[in-house]
Amino acid sequence: MVGDWEEHVIAASDEALASGVVPGMASRQAEHLCPLATFLPPEPEAAAQLRELISSALYDLAPTVEVRVEGVAWLDVNGVVSAGESIREARRRLKKAIGREPRLGLAPGPFSARLAAARARPGRLVQVEKARTFLAPLSSRELPLDAEQLERLDLLGLRTLGAVAAIGPRELESQLGREGRHAVLLARGLEPDQLTPWRPPLFTSAHRQFDPPVEDREALLFVARALCDDLAAELGLRGAGAKRILVRLLLESAPHEQRDSLVRHPLSSATELFGLIGSWIKEWQPRAPITEMWIELPVLEAAGRRQLRLWAGGDGTSEEVVSALERLQERWGDEVVHRPHPHLLSSPIPSQRFA
């Protein structure tokens, strides 16, 4: 179980869940239910990393993806051409990312989907057609209320979501405040909450200091490749691509030198990044030995090619060929790629025959 001793359980293993432990439960109560459990202190950094990992893994499967640190992920599959395929792929990727079979729920909104997933066996999907009917027999303790408010619901005799749904929103608002109104809407399956879509971060960079300063171009290329590998791994984790690339060289006894470029299609792999940066370094003539190299990706955006695969099979390939040609043009000039369009085919001058 993960959670502070004096606080609440944040996450629990399948074995602990089987003993009746649920996230949000007081840790002391959880220990009572599952005496053999090991308590692990929360690691916010690791949890955030895991959240990023899961978010990027699911990012291209639906237009809106939200992942919470307590281990719940939502995909809004409205508008997705084949939702079933998306869900199957989500299961596969989640299993790869976390090493466990996820529990899956498909429902009209985030609240009912979370409760449906909580009732599924690992690797299985619980599908809900009508949220209100599904929610009605469930305990009112599933509502996102604090302990005191849940206690008051109990005292009012509202022990199931069906009972909560049966009273008016204003009546419960007078008892619990705004959360009361919200709770009634949730219990009625009206899903008042919206998902907060995960977006890849907008900036990243990598740098390396040289001691002693280097002049050797091969060494610089070697380091640049390593930095590109690091950045590509980070971009892959975030499902992002670099729209702008900036390379800055800090020199020993001269002002720094830099070069940057805006690319038409976001670069996301190490090969793509090093293809551009390596070509710059090969022709760079620094005025002094280099003390530090920075590679910055100041403008990131979603790696579009991955998103395109979501809509129709095979589209991605055509897009990739076009973007590969554009990358060649960016590096070597527009004249490298020629698409012949008939112009004056009967002209004796070859250059006039095609536009």
Binding site: V321, L328, H338, P342, R353
Partner: protein, 266 residues
């Protein structure tokens, strides 16, 4: 030979039966049917997808004519057909007699061999349907090119006089062309006959051979109204008499295919 078999067996015993696979045991690559003589020479009914096919031969021997016919055929069937042209001056105009779909054609004019290699590897990786290499690519690009094409199933074809060792090694199918005679009619050169021989085949049993006749576009009609005739002829018959050209319509009906099968020398 016996020692080699013992070594192979010991590797399989120690590391598993899949650790070492004979080429003959590998499944053949998927073919792309080109409807030309190459289909039978390859032994799999088409050009191997994801592999490099090389057409070689000295001087005027028909290799480029056949490559252009294949290129035009690819433009009609595939979405992205690429010509990687490194200083050979490929002119799309020469493709017109083969009725290409120019919308699918892209020419990459590489100012340096390195760029030719990089472009070919990048486009193969991206999944271009057909790539025609008008010359060699540097050796260090052959590995990435092969693996990229293998993953995407791109049909790679190279046309050159004499391939270097690395390029020849990288190819899975090599067809050598040699001109056997010029065709003269009424004192005018109208075409040539050439022998096409499979000199290397890693996708099927090798060493097929056929003879073909190529008729140049001649006469008052403009180039793009003309059709080039590439006709396969029986080897023994070609030595007795020159066959009349088969019309494109009859080729489409499959007559040349029958003729071709009869002429097969394997």
């Amino acid at each position: 030979m016996q020692e080699l078999d013992v070594a192979i067996n010991s590797i399989r015993v120690r590391f598993g039966s899949q650790a070492l696979t004979r080429a003959a045991e590998l499944p053949p690559p998927q073919p792309w049917p080109s409807r030309t003589l190459i289909d039978r020479l390859s032994g799999i009914g088409g050009l191997p997808r994801g592999r490099l096919t090389v057409l070689t031969g000295n001087g005027t021997c028909g290799k480029l004519t056949l490559a252009l016919a294949l290129l035009a055929s690819a433009t009609r069937e595939l979405a992205h057909v690429i010509v990687i042209d490194h200083q050979s001056g490929f002119d799309p105009w020469t493709l017109l007699p083969y009725s290409p779909e120019l919308g699918a054609l892209t020419v990459v004019r590489a100012p340096a061999p390195d760029l030719a290699g990089e472009a070919a590897a990048a486009l193969a990786k991206a999944g271009a349907g057909f790539i025609l290499l008008m010359g060699e690519v540097p050796e260090h690009w052959l590995g990435p090119l092969e693996s990229a094409a293998n993953r995407s199933g791109t049909v790679l074809m190279g046309v050159l006089d004499a391939p270097g060792r690395a390029f020849a090694h990288a190819s899975s199918l090599s067809v050598g062309f040699s001109r056997t005679e010029w065709i003269w009619e009424r004192g005018q050169l109208v075409g040539l006959r050439a022998l096409a021989r499979c000199v290397k085949n890693r996708v099927a049993p090798p060493l097929g051979e056929t003879e073909l006749e190529i008729r140049y576009p001649l006469g008052a009609q403009s180039l793009f109204d003309h059709r080039v005739d590439i006709i396969e002829i029986p080897v023994d018959q070609s030595k007795r008499e020159a066959p009349s050209p088969v019309s494109p319509a009859s080729r489409e009906r499959g007559q040349s295919w029958d003729l071709y099968q009869e002429s097969a020398v394997v």
